[in-house]
Every structure is written in C-alpha cells, then in structure tokens.
Symmetry: C2
Subunit: 681 residues, 2 copies
C-alpha cells in the first residue's frame, strides 16, 4: 500500500470511531524516531527505557503496560509502566539478543483500582457502605474473568463483601478495611477488564545491535602495502604477520579498502595521474576487471582460502575484519558487459563515468539506480554483501552511500539484518548533515562524522554536544577518524607528534567509536600531494607503499595505552553521558563521561595547543560524580599513572604538549575495606 | 481500520517496495502536530509557511512542491517550494476561508534541471558536445509530455540542439549558450517527468479558523444578575440594556454561564449551602428540570424569541454571544428519566453524582461515557450544540471538558466544524498540562490557562515564553483570565484597584485572547467566601446579585482604553512574536510584540508591585524593532498618551502604581512626508 493511502487511513474518520468508549489517552511515546517511521538503536543487554504521557478524563485510575516483542518471535511481552510525575509513565525492558524489536504502549481505565482509590477517600458511613457494595460487584466481575482457584477465591470474597455491606452491624471502618485488603487487591488486579483498552497509534521499532556497534576501535590498512619488501605487492599473509602488532595497539576492527580485482581500463596512476605506468596498481575503489568483480579477490592479495584464513587468524587476535562496500564499477567490470542496463549510456555509446564537474573519475562507472532492472540490480548488490558474510565478514564500511538511491539502503540493510542481526554497517558519507542523518535513520549502524574538521574548543564542544543528545543520539552513532586515506587534515601536515597525539586522544575519549588510517597515522605520515590539498602525497590509494614499523617515533605504544584505557573504562564506551566542563582557557578542553550505572567516571582534559604548555582551573563538583559534597576524591591519570587529590569545585591542571597531550583521569572515590582501611576505589 | 493495523502497514515491508527508483527524500515537514495525527491551527487570510528537508543522492537537481487542498473541495493546489539552505525547502499558501486543509510535500529528481546544472559546469568542447546531445533527448522527452504548441516548439528545439551538436563547425561555447537558453528552460520546466516522484509519508492537517480564534476579548456575565432591582431575576432584556456599556468597554465576545432550566432536586443554596431557601435560584451548571434540559431556556430569563432577539442585538453592538456547554445533569433533568442508561447507577438505586471525595456535587449527575448507548449519548450531546448554532450562537465555552471522554470531543468538534467551520470552542480545563494540551490537539479553538496563578516576573516570563513557542503554539491558543466566577485569586482579595489594573493589563497585553468575569472585575468585587478560599462570597453562581455600574471606582474606562489599544495594534493580536526584555528589577516586567509584518511594535512595561513606584532600565535595541542602529525612535504610551524619545539600548522607565500600572508603548519610527517634514509614524 503506498504511503499516501496509509496516511489517508490515519486521518480522522468522518463518522464515529468503531469503539468510542476508550477513555485512556496515550501520547508522546519516547524514544521514537520520526514517530516510529525509523528505528531507535540500542545495544543487547542494555535496559531500554520508554516513557509515555498517559491519562484519562476525570479521576479514574489508569493502568499502563509497555508491550514489546522481537520481530519474528511469536511471544509478546508486557511489562507494567509506572507513573513518574506529571502524567509521564515509564517502563523498561531488556533486549537480550540483537534483532529488531517492536514496542508500543497500552493503557486502560481500571475499574477495580478506580473504585479502590475512591474508597480510600470516603469517610461517611453510608458512603462507605454503598461503595463496598459497588466494590463487591467489581470483585465479582474479576472472579468471572479469573480462572481456577483464583476465580473461586474472588467469588467468595465478593460474596463476603456483599454480605458485610448489607449487615448494618458491621461498622464503616471495618467494612473499609475488609474492602481495602491488600491480598484482595493483588488477586483482583491479576484479572483486569481490558475490553476498552487504548493502544498507542504507532508500533515503534528498536534495532538492537551487539555491543561493538556502540564501542569499537578501528584500524584501517591497505593489505597490498602490508609487505616488507619495497615494490612487492603485499598479501593477506603479510597482513597476518601484522595482526599481533595491531592487537597490541588494542584495536578490535581491522578494515580493508576493497580487496577485489582492479580495473585496467582508464586506471589511475600514482598520485591520481591520468597516465599509468605498467606497474601501476590502480585505485582499489575502481572495482572489477576480467579477473572478476565485487565477489572476487585480487589475485595478488591471495586466494579466497587465504582470505578465510586471515579472517580466522584475525579472530584469534580479537580482530574483526571490516570490508569496504563500494557499489561502483571499473569500465572493465564484468557487470558492464553482463548488465549494460545497470549503467547510464550516453549518445556517443560510452557510459557516463562518475564526475563532479570539473572533477572526473574516468575509472569509475556508477550504477544507474533509476534503471528498468532496478530489482535485478538491488538483488545482485545485496548478494555481494551476502557473499562476504558467507566468507566470515561481519562488518561493512560502505563507501559513499549518499550517492546511491536511499530506498536501496533501507531495504538492503533491513533484509540483511533480519537474517544476520549481528552484521554492522558504517556509512562513509562525508556530506550534508541532513543526508548523513537520513542514512543513519535508514539503518546504518555507525556513521562517519565531521570530527576531522572540528578543531577548536568551540567547534568540538558544539559538535559533540549535538552528537550526544536526542533525537540524533537515538539513531546516529558517530565513528570519528583523525585521518582517512582521503583526508590528511591541514593540522596534521606539520607532522608534529604532539598534534597527532592530541587528535588521537580527542577521538578516542570523545567518541565510543573511533578509528585511524594506519600505518600512516602512527608513523606520522603528513605530506600533502600539493599545498592546500587534503590528499596524501604518494597515497596508498594509487600505489604500493612499505612502512617502517620500527620507527622510534611511532605512536603505537601511545595508541596501545589509549585503547587499553578505553577497554578498562565503560565510561569511554558510551556517548550518552558526555558533558563538557568549564575551564577558562580556550586551549583546554575538559569533559566527563560516566558508565551507564554511574560507577565509572572518566574526566579528560586535552591541551588543544600542540606547542605551548597550557593551564587552567577545571570546574567539577563532587556531587556531579557521585561524591559527597565537600569530600575529596582521587583522580588517577591513566596515561601517566599520576594521582591527584581533588576537593571543592575548581581543580588546577597544567599540560605540556611535549610531554602529554592530555590527562585521562579516572575518578576514584574514597572507600574502606573490611579492616576499616581507607583507600580509593 | 484500527490504528494498530495502520501502524503495521507503515512499518517497513519485508520485501522490496513496489517502486524502488524514487530517489527524492522528504523528511521533517513542519509545522506538524504529532507527525500529522492532529491539526496545526492558523487563521484565514494568514500566509501558512511550510518547511521540509528534501534532498537526493548525488548531485542531481530536485524539484519540490507543496501540495494542499481544502477538505471537501475537489481542487488540489501545488505551489513550488524553494531551497532556503542546508537542504531545508520552504513554501507557503494562503488559506482564505475557514475550514480544514490538508497539505503534504512532493519532490522529484528533475532530469532536465539536473542536465542543465551539469552543463553549466562543463568546460571541455567534447564534454559539451555530448552533454548537448543528452540535452536534446531531455528536450525531446519534454516535447512528448507537452501539449499543443509547446509540444511543437520543444520538438523543434530538440531537433535544433541535436543538429547543432552533430555539426562540428558549431563551437562549444555557442552550443552551450543554445542549450542553456532561458526560454527553453522555462518551456521544458513546464513538463517535468514526475513518474518517480516522492510523496511525504503523511498528509498533514491544518485547521483554519476565522480571526476571532486568534484575537478576542471576552466579557462574562450572569444574565440573571443583569437586572437593576434587588432580588428580581434578570432577563435577556436586561442584558440588552447592558450591551452599549459592554461594547463601550471594547469587548467582542459576551459569554453567559448556562441559560437552561436549573434543577430543583438537591439544589444548592447561597454560598453553596446544602439547604436551600424557597427563593434560592441554584447553580446554572445544575442543568435541567421538568422545564427542560440543555436545549431549553430558563423561563425566568426569557423565551427562545427573547434569546434570538438578544443575539441579534448583541451583533449590532459588535458582540458575539458565547454559550456555556456543561454536559452534566441535575437529578431532575429529563434525560435522567428518558435515558437512564446514560448514567451510572449504584446498587442502592441512586445515580452516582459528581464528586471528588470528600467534595460532593449532589446537584450534578455526570454522564457515563462508558455506557452501552454511547452512540446515542454522543449524538444527543452534539445535537445540543447544533441546536444553539441554529439559534445563532457561534462560540461555545465548554465546561470541564477533561471530565468527559476525549474521543467524544475529537469527533464532536471535528464534525461540527466540518459543517460550520466558523464555530469556535473554548476549553475550560484547569487541570494538568498534558491534559490541557491534549484537548487543544483534539480540536478546541482556545484554552483556559494557568495565568491566574502566574504572578511573579519569573512565573510570567517562563509561562508565556512556553505558550508562544512551538510545538504548543501550533495548536494551543491561550485565553487568559484574571478572574472567573470560580477563581478569585488571593492577589485580588485586597480589593485594591492598582492590583486589578495590573492583572488586567498583563492579560490584555500578554495574550491575544483574554477575558474577565464582570461586573465583578470592573467593580473590584474581592471578598472570598472564607479565608484561604478562591470562591467569591455571595457568588452569583448560587444567588442573584445586582451591580452598581455607576460606581466611581469602576475600571470600565480603563478597560475601554486597553481594549481600544488592542484593536488598534495588530502586535497585540498575536502571541507568536512575544519576547521578554531584560530589566534589572524583579518588579518590572517588560516585553515586546510585533505584528506579523513587523510594522506595528508594542513594548509593554508592567509594574508588578501594586504599592511602590518601581524604576529600571529596559534593554531594547533599535535593530530588534526595525530601526537603524544608533537612530532614535519614539515610544508613545497609549495609556497616558505621553511620548518619549529613546536611543541606544537601555531605556529608563519609572511607574507609580497609584497612577498607572504600565506603559503600553507603541514604537513610532522616524519618517518624512513629501515635503521632507520629519515626523514619527
């Protein structure tokens, strides 16, 4: 049914509703993304809290239930919601496994509870007597809805109430006590009359991912540059040799640019040259040649067996392989001959290659998502992802998703996650904010961000505040990168280690998901192709490189330390609790994060100036981190292992960028052991 | 179809969409109330602006249309939306007559415009030549969609482009100029290919009312106290005698408590006494006796002819009559015998009267909205309103709507406004915020507020800021009252004129809709029934009163002045533009309002202290009121007729409450006439 017809059905009927006696009102069920059009995102094992505005006319008592089920399961669960205040009700459930869940809210005016509430306020003997007669009828009705022994007990209690009310010798206070008996309430409440129950107008969706969707540390490398011999094409075997070092740096996702055969027609040379030399390897994003397309492996890298072996070895090193999904073709991709209808042909008999005039990408043909055989195209593209899932891949980084039709992504990701709820997708869309948000709504598990271009204190504060708050926070999971093969930010072009360390620290502590393009990053690669460019000189995108991992300047030990801190501190594994702290120095950025349960608190102070020592007073009250006002607490710098005792609201900090870019301070609260020995936990 | 089934249809289909090539995306159409579940409210003749987030994949050019129609009309209108910035598109339409309108947004990727945009960026001769060939095909396709002469012209232009592109002697620059010809663009744009058009997922509703919904000045009086002779029941004729005075005070709505026969069973005596004396007249809200029910008129007030005469006479005095709709019955209302099923009977054979234990309203039976014959009840209640519409009533003030089932109001108001779009409803719900908002969403044109209990600067600022902003502002129209027959606020119980004047000024200048319960207000009635009570002593609710309109203390002239200022200044006829101005004195409240077009600006400064002179500096920049920075402007106190010249940002104000509660300052900007004579407009 087209959306428009559905909308027409939602509009107010001209006549009466089929059932007009539904007196409970349910409004504003939250969280929800665009009124339920898109799914909220959460993590398996994380308590999912829902609020709703519920009320009814007059003074009757409402009962409210949160209803939920896992898509595909037949069991529907209900959990009572409780009144917080101001007609706001709250309930929660715990989705234990990844998948798509549906939730909504039900409410009804509860006859028994309303009667009971009214009785508690009655004082006059006659009023009580009549009220108890009314109550006997309520209990009797509950008895008729009940089953088994409960039905008998309720029927007996109804009769007793009826008889007591009729007996003028039973006093009002006694009557009232009988009727308000707690066990009667418990029993009768089990059998409510829900015939006139209200149901919220939408069924809302929740996509539950595995924890890595929320907390991950990515390392990107070009397998073809994993070799150790200059000019020799690296292989999956060479990558395997690197696994221990990458594990040691503490990463958990290892991401490769496309590993497929690379087109030969219009292949780009070194530094994106239009003319190639015989040994030029081309851009991995120009996918496909007569060696195969998106499901094939570039022979120089290895065989499918080699790839499966690498996936398994990576797993042993705590690393998941993430593959690049770039839905575009080199001119000699098999698709071009087999499915010419998937491309846009021009009157001169050539295919319209990718371009953003005057920029031209002659080695890349985009798909035409408006082609007649769009179903065939969609089916084939999805089968590419299915193929690699079959090969053991669990994470996909999608190249430029915003240049493919949006409905395709919604369908493709939803279908794949229906079959494989554990699969994660990262959207590489460096584009306009509303487009990036739409992709996240459509289903991408994580999204690239503007972090690379957010450099000042003001920019970082505004951007990460926005990212950590609803509504965006409910569906957009940022994954921040100090560099990528496409982006060597001007700030890094000096090649100074303090700047590389500070951007890395910001990424790793501001965002739960982050990544670097290495070894370029840890080895301080910093020359641009030309002045003013964000492209790397001699970029791996177009040529083989070898790297000197033994460079004494390598940031690998520093990265290892940061990632280890991230793993040990749940506070750094979420964005929801981020808050910036006042400090009157524009070169110092201070922020606190806490774990969901509040027990783990990390305060990070970064010196944004890579050249000068900076100092200032950080504003942080004891109460805000769960310490009694006035009491001192310890902050333990997890980078330097120094410990400081803080008390009061303002705390002095001084950072020398030559020494360290930041304090990453774990808050340790005063506690005592069984021997009354005081220490900091 | 129940809401739940509709929701299921809205959720993502398991398979592919029927049409997957719809590449335009439409998101966040605003304004909307709860995603279109409820209607936005506006006024006839007011430009209705709509924004939407629209974009597509890649670099293609979008066209976006705002589609709208009046419910019941067959004509569907479309008006182009234009890109503001950041993927936000804007469009508008002008609903000229009251009624319910539907609007939504359409967008499509425009082949011709995309091609044209691409061509403008092409520089190389070969590229241009191929692009013009592609363009010739676009123009030819447009020709096939066109009709009449346009089709012929477009076909000819397509051929010309084709031939020129094929002719190597025609240079690229010449080719480009031909293809980018403006008249070709105009013509081809008329025939877009909309086969793959996207349509927003919801059709949104807009309720357009007549201007009085937004701007009205209410005067409430008890007709039975309109007489001049002590102890004699007032009549509609007596009310007619008061019309000139009420008109002179500048009101435009004259609202009566219920005018129906009053129950005799369990009638309340003076000051709500349980025991009545023979001459007690009872509460008008205890509706119905053997003289008739909700469609009848209390004989002591007059006949139906008298009522119709009064309605007509009021009209001649610029006054609309508003009737009270109180859907409840006295025990001797004819409904109780005729439709016993509409009430909730107790085991002792009595009807459950209204109560909020321990408070009891023995003279009032509520309807049971859960009764089996709810359709019959709904139909009859609606027919009451229809009856009075037939008698010339155009505004209804609904008593305690929150104690009746919410679905009834949505149906009743929607149905009545479908037949009579000019009818207005004011919700008298002094209850919890979310309940009040729901009633406004369901269709009430105006709503009572908490104004009476918002007294300090902080309270007033917070409350009116909330009321003037979306989302509430889009559907909740506040109508503020300094007093009602039920609410004599403690602040007024001193009876001091300065306090009465300041609360009146606040109501009349903060809110576009306001009202007073008179003559109690202008005659400074102020004694409570007992200390701590908000009830009036000797309230008209329970007894006849006569009023001395000639009292020299009467605020009538002051009220007349305020209402006249309201009528002359469009700035005071809207709430949307309200903003509070800084002033460092907690007893001074300053705020500015502007008309929709910004030409009329009124700055009000109220002294909240009725006893002491207060002074302070008001912060108001020239730019914020459309005056060039640095230039002086005049502020003209419309209460005192004084004029002041203001310049710069801070302006000194001093108010003596014995003299005046406020400045109501119309901003007059410097201008020149044709003789170059400078004056303030």
């Amino acid at each position: 049914m087209p959306e428009t017809q559905v909308a027409a059905l939602l509009s107010l009927p001209h006549g009466m509703p089929r059932e007009g006696r539904v007196r409970a009102v349910i409004d504003a069920v939250l969280p929800s993304v665009d009124g339920g059009r898109f799914a909220v995102k959460r993590i398996a094992g994380e308590r999912f809290e829902v609020t709703a505005h519920c009320f009814t006319d007059g003074h009757d008592v409402l009962r409210v239930e949160l209803q939920w089920w896992r898509e595909g399961d037949t069991t529907v669960y209900e959990t009572p919601m409780t009144l917080l205040n101001n007609d706001i009700w709250q309930g929660a459930f715990l989705p234990e496994v990844p998948g798509r869940y549906i939730y909504t809210v039900l409410a009804w005016v509860d006859g028994f509870a309303s009667w009971r509430h009214e009785l508690t306020r009655r004082v006059e003997e006659d009023d009580i007597r009549i009220a108890v007669q009314v109550g006997a009828l309520e209990v009797d009705a509950a008895a008729k809805r009940a089953t088994g022994e409960d039905a008998q007990v309720l029927a007996r209690l109804a009769t007793e109430l009826q008889q007591a009310a009729a007996d003028r010798s039973v006093e009002g206070t006694r009557l009232k006590a009988m009727a308000l008996d707690a066990s009667l309430e418990t029993l009768a409440s089990r059998y409510p009359d829900r015939r006139l129950e209200a149901r919220y107008g939408a069924e809302l969706s929740l996509v539950v991912d595995r924890p890595r969707a929320r907390f991950s540390s990515w390392y990107e490398l070009f397998p073809r540059s994993a070799g150790t011999e200059l000019g020799k094409h690296g292989t999956f075997r060479d990558v395997e040799a690197r696994l221990p070092a990458i594990q040691q740096m503490g990463f958990d996702v290892l991401y490769f640019p496309p590993i497929h055969p690379i087109g030969r027609v219009d292949r780009k040379g070194k530094n994106n040259a239009l003319v190639t030399e015989p040994d030029d390897v081309g851009s991995p994003w120009a996918i496909g040649s007569d060696e195969g397309g998106h499901k094939a492996i570039l022979p120089a890298l290895g065989t499918p067996e080699d790839f499966r072996h690498l996936v398994a070895e990576a797993g042993k090193h705590g690393l998941e392989i993430a593959l690049d999904i770039a839905f575009q073709c080199a001119p000699d991709h098999p698709y071009v001959k087999e499915h010419p209808g998937w491309f846009r042909w021009r009157p001169d008999g050539t295919v319209q290659y990718a371009e953003n005039p005057p920029k031209k990408y002659q080695d890349i043909y985009p798909f035409n998502f408006e082609c007649d055989d769009w179903q065939g195209l969609w089916t084939e593209l999805k089968s590419v992802i299915d193929h690699w899932i079959g090969e053991g891949v669990t994470i996909f980084r999608v190249d430029n998703p915003h240049t493919k039709a949006f409905p395709f992504w919604e369908w493709c990701i939803t279908e794949i996650k229906r079959e494989h709820p554990e699969i994660l997708f990262l959207a590489e869309a460096f584009t306009r904010p509303k487009v990036m948000h739409r992709l996240a709504k459509l289903g991408f598990s994580q999204s690239y961000t503007y972090f690379t271009w957010r450099n000042t204190k003001e920019e970082l504060t505004a951007y990460f505040t926005e990212l950590s708050q609803p509504p965006g926070h409910d569906y957009f999971r940022p994954n921040v990168w100090p560099n990528t093969p496409d982006i060597l930010h001007e700030q890094l072009q000096s090649g100074e280690a303090p700047m590389f360390r500070l951007r890395l620290t910001l990424a790793a502590t501001l965002a739960a998901n982050y990544g670097i393009y290495g070894p370029a990053y840890e080895l301080l690669e910093h020359l641009p192709r030309n002045p003013g460019s964000e492209e790397y000189l001699d970029s791996e995108k177009y040529q083989l490189r070898t790297w000197n991992h033994d460079d004494r300047q390598s940031l690998a030990p520093f990265i290892a330390r940061l990632n280890s801190i991230r793993k040990d501190n749940p506070a750094l594994q979420t964005n929801a609790t981020l808050r910036f702290l006042p400090v009157e120095n524009n070169q110092l950025l201070a922020y606190a994060k806490a774990s969901d349960d509040g027990t783990n608190v990390v305060v990070t102070v970064v010196n944004l100036d890579p050249h000068q020592t900076q100092s200032g007073w950080i504003g942080l009250t004891a109460e805000s981190i769960g310490v009694a006002p006035g009491q001192s607490f310890q902050v333990h710098d997890l980078l330097s292992d120094q410990r400081f005792l803080w008390q009061g609201e303002w705390h002095y900090v001084q950072l020398d960028p030559q020494h360290t870019p930041a304090h990453v301070l774990r808050v340790r609260r005063r506690t005592r052991d069984e021997n009354d020995f005081e220490y900091f936990l």
